[in-house]
């Protein structure tokens, strides 16, 4: 058998030197069509789900688009433009109301000729926030100093005025709108982070009494809603403090927000401290560092870095919680909205819906950018930790 093959084949033998061009994959396995089939219509159940959700999206999106754009009013001097008419039986959002009131929402009832001070604070706030959050920013330590120290001091001087510097005094009652929302958020973040770190360290302390105090404080605050803390601060703080110290409304609300978010911050920081391997603590001890030295130089830098996404997320929660100060009569963004609805010049059936939709959009933009930042940091840290 083998002989016959070897004797007959040489003349017809053919050995291919190069492989042929590979055939293109079948059209049904690649490209947009295959993707659609795999991701939208892979099974009967998925097909049904796809169609149902497409219908739902269409209905909801159309409703929203009609209200926010197609049927909306963009220009107009008063309510008449936003009322229903024969040509438009169901009017959409009344954006001209928002554009009329936008300065009130941003500055509150701050004196109009002094608004430049608020503008400076906004700019400073924006610059230092970008500086401290931008990971590769030059001299980031200075960014942190500007955010945590310079910004609060400058804002305080600019917003409330300092007669000795030639700046007219402005009472806190004149502050309002987004200014107050940002003030509450920034004070909350700037004060509650160090306070939270101290509470977290206290909770992990070896000193039993320090530990008990911290645990009681943290668990008590975390066990009650913010609204009750705000109420308590509003009604009870003036009673507990010496009468001549009488703190104003804004300060009472700030105390409540700071104490509340400090307890949550403490738990976030504690999680970071616990995640640190024990060797770090032991190593710091072995180096002969004192407690505060080891915390400042070894433990906290690592723990805070690892838990940065959670700190940012906790700040998102704090920012959302600032809306609650409106319940104790602080004129934040929510309350300026509510006040603007009372103007009869703009009283239409769609005014309040437009206003709340605008508020939702405002908070969404702020919070979503913060939480997206937290996610970016998280992935970066995950990549950095991978060996």
């Amino acid at each position: 058998m083998s002989n016959s093959v070897s004797t007959n084949s040489p003349s017809v033998s053919f050995i291919r030197k190069e492989s042929t061009q590979a055939l293109p994959p079948p059209i049904r396995a690649t490209g947009a069509l295959a993707w659609i089939r795999d991701n939208l219509f892979s099974t009967v159940f998925n097909t049904v789900l796809t169609f149902i959700s497409l219908a739902l999206i269409y209905l909801m999106l159309m409703q929203l688009l009609h209200f926010a754009f197609f049927d909306a009013t963009f220009t107009g001097q008063d309510r008449s433009a936003c009322l229903s008419s024969a040509s438009r039986p169901e009017p959409g959002a009344c954006w001209s109301f928002i554009s009329t009131y936008i300065n009130y929402f941003i500055y509150g009832s701050y004196p109009i000729d002094l608004r430049w001070r608020v503008n400076i604070v906004y700019v400073l706030f924006f610059i230092s926030m970008v500086w401290v959050l931008w990971i590769n920013a030059p001299k980031r330590a200075w960014g942190a100093i500007s955010f945590f120290i310079i910004l609060p001091i400058v804002s305080y001087i600019l917003l409330l005025g300092a007669p000795s510097l030639g700046l007219e005094k402005v009472t806190t009652e004149r502050l309002g709108g987004m200014v107050v929302t940002f003030i509450v958020a920034i004070v909350g973040i700037v004060v509650s982070l160090p306070l939270g770190i101290l509470l977290a360290l206290g909770r992990r302390s070896n000193l039993p009494i320090v530990k008990v105090f911290c645990v009681i404080f943290i668990e008590f605050v975390r066990g009650v809603p913010l609204i009750t803390v705000l109420f308590a601060a509003n009604f009870m703080l003036p009673l507990f403090l010496p009468p001549d110290l009488n703190p104003d409304r804004l300060l009472r609300a700030l105390v409540a927000v700071v104490l509340f978010s400090a307890a949550y911050m403490a738990e976030v920081v504690r999680a970071g401290l616990q995640a640190l391997p024990k060797g770090q603590y032991e190593g710091a001890n072995a180096m002969g560092l004192s407690y505060w030295q080891s915390m400042r130089l070894i433990i906290l830098p690592q723990a805070l870095k690892a838990t940065l996404p959670n700190i940012v997320n906790s700040n998102v929660a704090l920012f959302k919680d600032t809306t609650l100060v409106s319940t104790v009569g602080i004129f934040d963004f929510v309350n300026t909205l509510q006040a603007s609805f009372k103007n009869p010049d703009w009283a239409t059936p769609v005014t309040s819906t437009t206003g709340w939709l605008f508020a939702a959009a405002f908070y969404f933009v702020c919070c979503y950018s913060m939480s997206s930042y937290a996610r970016t940091i998280e992935t970066r840290l995950a990549i950095a930790d991978k060996r």
């Binding site: 991701n39 939208l40 892979s42 998925n46 789900l49 796809t50 959700s53 497409l54 999206i57 070896n206 000193l207 039993p208 009494i209 320090v210 105090f213 668990e219 008590f220 975390r222 066990g223 009650v224 809603p225 913010l226 609204i227 009750t228 803390v229 109420f231 308590a232 009604f235 009870m236 003036p238 009673l239 507990f240 403090l241 010496p242 009468p243 998102v316 959302k320 919680d321 809306t323 609650l324 409106s326 319940t327 929510v334 059936p349 309040s352 819906t353 709340w356 939709l357 508020a359 939702a360 908070y363 969404f364 919070c367 979503y368 939480s371």
Partner: protein
Amino acid sequence: MAIAELEEKPRISPFYDPKIRAFVYQAAMIFLVGYGLYAAYTNAVTGLSKQGVVTSLGFWDSVAGFPISFRLIDFTELSSYGTAFWVGLINTVVVSVIGIFLATILGFIVGIARLSSNWLISKIAYWYVQIIRNIPLLIQLILIADLMHHLPGATEIKQNTSGIYLTNQGLFTPRPVFEAGSGLIFYAFLGGLVAFIGYYNWAKNRQIATGKQSPTGLVFLGLIVIFPIAVFFISGMPISLAYPVKTRFSFQGDATLQIEFVAALLGLVIYTAAFIAEVVRAGIMSVSKGQTEAASALGLTAGQNLRLVVVPQAFRVILPPLTNQYLNLTKNSSLASVIAFPELVQVFAGTVLNQTNQAIPVMGITMLVYLTISLITSFLMNAFNQRMALRER
């Protein structure tokens, strides 16, 4: 000899002695906190006596004199402040419990949808979570309440045959009227339930012993749904429906579901479900892929896979953060006070506090209620968690 020398304590200056330092620190802390509390107490006493307010719970039995629209126990304008407290507390508990139940269902659906192989479904779930989590609950509640107040009023609605009306006062539906003999149906339902539980246990034991499966769904339908309905018809239909009757401006009686309650519930459920969805997603992702693959290799369908393999294992990871979300929902129910739902904060820390001016006892009691709920829940969940935890050797 050498050992004895080593055991001799090294001499340190008392300034650096950790024991002495610890004592000094803690003594200082006790002093500071104690002094702060003492100062607060004396300030409050002098301040209150100057205002002529006597702090006491004496108001508890006085007549409240205000109405509460949503109540599950009797409350009139002649009822006491104490009753108002209970009405508020019960409303808080009711909205929280129903909210927790619905938010769990919605949260699990969204969390599982987030991991769906269907791209559209997972994207919808993703954006649901992102949008809801990044808008303050207060704004959402107000927006929902606002949209509901824009529903047509009772005067604009025509009477229809279904008897179901969604108005800006709430949802009006036909209500059952129980006549003589309707107890029989209730007992039939109860009997069906007991019979079904017995059957279920028998079927389960049989499956464990022999591997033979018995139909539970059909038996469930027969015993718990069809049997009571059959009794209803046999006994001569003793339950009838009272249709809402239109009056000049509204419908007779209260709405079946009042608008504030629906808005509060919807807001809380939608908001918390987004957080629960993330918890569920993280839990499911924590179950290793080998488990799902092995289950598929055994021939389990996707649904069975989820129900019998993935969720029971994910449950251990899910439970602690899920409890946290339940507590958050309960605490967040206090925000419903802003949209005028009469829960604890609105009734007690709002109206009662304003009328009695007893800030310290009223706020103290309100906070204590939430604290008690939180502590009891975390205690129960910790106990449950310990039972559920993996027994590792």
